[in-house]
């Protein structure tokens, strides 16, 4: 029943509680191409939508390890190998003195990974998205809560899905063009 030109359906809800309940029902019905849009992070929405935990913490851990090893290596190589500088016979690999910079580089690389990783996983920057075609969607950054079901969802049916969304207490259901 998919029609070209239709991205999906967008349902508008008044509050986070209504949205979370609706999301849970939509998921129970077997819809999979579903996402919610809220003006702030809503606590139990992830579970209701069945969003799995993300991989970002592991990426950040990897970034931290790269920063830590890389930061230490840089100092060890510079001070011990490339330009050995004997200060009163002290060891060239004077590790306690290398800790502060190792720590700073660890934090720097881990932090950059967190930010760039978050943006990349979210697919941002994304200048265009079909949802921006819906004028009321501007309220998603103010005080409205939206639930969208994409047309490529196997269970999607233009009329039945819209009726179903209305039955969940949506204030308004709009079609989203591409």
């Amino acid at each position: 029943m998919k029609r070209p030109g239709l991205w999906g359906l967008l349902a508008e809800f008044d509050g986070p509680t209504a949205l979370v309940e609706a999301a849970a029902h939509v998921r129970d019905r077997g819809y999979t191409r579903v996402d919610a849009y809220t003006p702030f992070p809503v606590e139990t929405l992830d579970e209701a939508l069945g969003v799995r935990r993300n991989v970002l913490p592991f990426l950040v851990l990897a970034g931290g390890i790269v920063g830590c090893v890389g930061g230490y290596f840089m100092q060890w190589y510079a001070m011990g190998v490339d330009y050995p500088f004997n200060v009163g016979g002290r060891p060239l690999n004077s590790w306690p003195m290398f800790i502060p910079i190792t720590f700073e580089v660890t934090v720097l690389v881990a932090g950059l990974t967190a930010v760039i990783g978050m943006l990349a996983l979210n697919g941002l920057p994304m200048p265009y998205h079909p949802l921006f075609n819906v004028p009321r969607f501007a309220l998603a950054t103010r005080d409205r809560f939206f639930l969208a079901i994409e047309a490529r969802d196997p269970r999607f049916d233009r009329r039945q899905t819209a009726d179903f969304l209305r039955s969940l207490g949506a204030r308004e259901v709009s079609e989203v063009g591409r």
Binding site: P39, G111, T141
Partner: protein, 458 residues
């Protein structure tokens, strides 16, 4: 504001005045940027700040032409105002990170309305701070020699030196703070994009928002990233002033060579930073009518932190003096004694008055909740912390081991002009920030409303 008509309870004042909704918060904060007329106060403030910025530009230009000799620095006092200002500014930055990262991890909801401009303060303060070591190098155009890169000279920075640690610490701190601030702003930029009436506003905020649309999946990763950044920034903020204190403590100079420096510097940083946050918050809430969002509770909490960190700093002063005597080292003893009665004694006693005596007013709840009193105390603490850094830098340097190498430091007009100019840079950036960016985090304010909670189905 009076609570006389309500019965006294142990419950603290609210972090947001009752009656607000998601929409009213959004509209009120975004209106400051989008629709309200630019106030006369803003224009006058901006004009004054920009004039001071002009002073900075003239000072730097003359510095580049004539060299660091235009300052009062000499041998033995090679650091002078430049490093005093550096330590002062970087310390101010610390409160922003403390509010945004540590209070986030501690789930202190009251931080939501002050974290955004405190973070902005951090970034601008670190920019001012970074300026001074650069200018103090004498040949700032060779600043990149501080960076480790393969070069034709076959040299590396000396990684065992705290001065090089400082480069890494401050650069990391600036980068992380900037990212933290920007990440926090993305959802609010999206709000401004969606609410802006002008095409220029939509394009500018739309670009900055990068297409944010508040998807649940995005929010999940966003919150993960935000929390991880907070976790990373928390030890970072402690490390930065620790490294700065190592610039002093690792040397053997009497008055500097002390193990109390790292904690004492970190506490002093938070002390001066909260004083600066308070200095900025009190006029902002009055001029922009933000008493609903920055309530008495915020003022009181900040006052308490100023009081506590002030006591830690006081302990630091006492220990410094005690250890000077207890070390039985004649040089240490002399430097401590000279601090009290020597040429820079008045500066020392002034800082004791500003940092130790004045904050004691804040034991009284009435003083903590009175914006005028708190503002004055905060201003005095700002001055006191600057004096503290001045005494640590200048007084210690001007008396080292050999009387033959003793000398006085007198700041020149250019020292003062550069310092005043850095205030101009800070204030100019801050004025631009409050005009063009939401000074309170809109999306985080929404989360503290009772409606934001998902109610369990009965």
């Amino acid at each position: 504001m009076s609570t006389a008509d309500t019965p006294r309870t142990s419950a603290p004042a609210p972090v947001i005045e009752p009656g607000h909704t998601f929409a009213s918060i959004t509209d009120k904060i975004s209106a400051i940027v989008l629709t309200r007329r630019t106030t006369l106060a803003w224009l006058i403030g901006f004009a004054l700040s920009a004039s001071l910025l002009g002073v900075l530009i003239v000072s730097i230009t003359w510095l580049l032409v004539a060299g660091v000799g235009i300052w009062g620095i000499n041998i033995p006092v090679g650091w002078g105002f430049a490093i005093t200002n550096f330590v002062w500014w970087i310390g101010i930055g610390h409160a922003g990170t403390l509010i945004s990262a540590i209070l986030l991890l501690l789930r202190q909801e009251w931080r939501q309305s002050i974290n955004r401009f405190a973070e902005a303060m951090t970034i601008f303060a670190v920019m001012c701070a970074g300026l001074f070591p650069l200018l103090h190098m004498g040949r700032p155009w060779f600043f990149y020699w501080l960076m480790p890169y393969p070069n034709t000279m076959g040299l590396w920075p000396q990684f065992r030196s705290p001065l090089v640690w400082d480069v890494f610490a401050v650069a990391t701190y600036f980068t992380i703070s900037l990212m933290f601030w920007y990440i926090g702003l993305i959802p609010d930029f999206a709000t401004l994009r969606d609410r802006s009436q002008s095409r220029a506003g939509r394009v500018a905020y739309g670009t900055l928002a990068m297409g944010w649309r508040g998807s649940a999946r995005h929010w999940q990763r966003y919150e993960t990233a935000y929390l991880l950044l907070a976790g990373l920034a928390t030890p970072l903020v402690v490390s930065v002033h620790t490294v700065v204190s190592c610039d002093f403590a690792v040397t053997q100079l009497p008055g500097w060579h002390s193990t109390i420096f790292p904690p004492y510097f970190v506490a002093g940083a938070i002390f001066s930073g909260f004083a600066m946050v308070t200095t900025l918050a009190i006029p902002l809430r009055a001029i922009y009518g933000l008493e609903d969002f920055i309530t008495e509770r915020h003022l009181e909490n900040m006052a308490k932190i100023i009081l506590v960190t002030g006591l830690i700093v006081t302990y630091g002063y006492m220990m410094e003096a005690f250890m000077g005597w207890y070390s039985a080292n004649p040089y240490e003893r002399y430097v401590q004694w000279d601090r009290l009665v020597g040429a820079y004694g008045p500066a020392y006693w002034a800082l004791i008055l500003c940092n130790v005596v004045t904050p004691q007013v804040l034991w009284m709840k009435r003083a903590r909740c009175n914006p005028v009193v708190l503002f004055v105390v905060a201003l005095i603490v700002n001055v006191g912390m600057w004096l503290e850094r001045f005494v640590i830098v200048v007084q210690s340097l001007h008396r080292d081991f050999l009387p033959s190498s003793w000398g006085m430091y007198y700041p020149t007009i250019w020292d003062w002009a550069t310092f005043a100019g850095s205030l101009g840079l800070f204030l100019t950036l801050f004025f631009l920030f409050i005009r063009f960016m939401p000074m309170i985090s809109i999306f985080e304010m929404r989360t503290i409303l009772p409606e934001a909670e998902v109610k369990e189905p009965a």
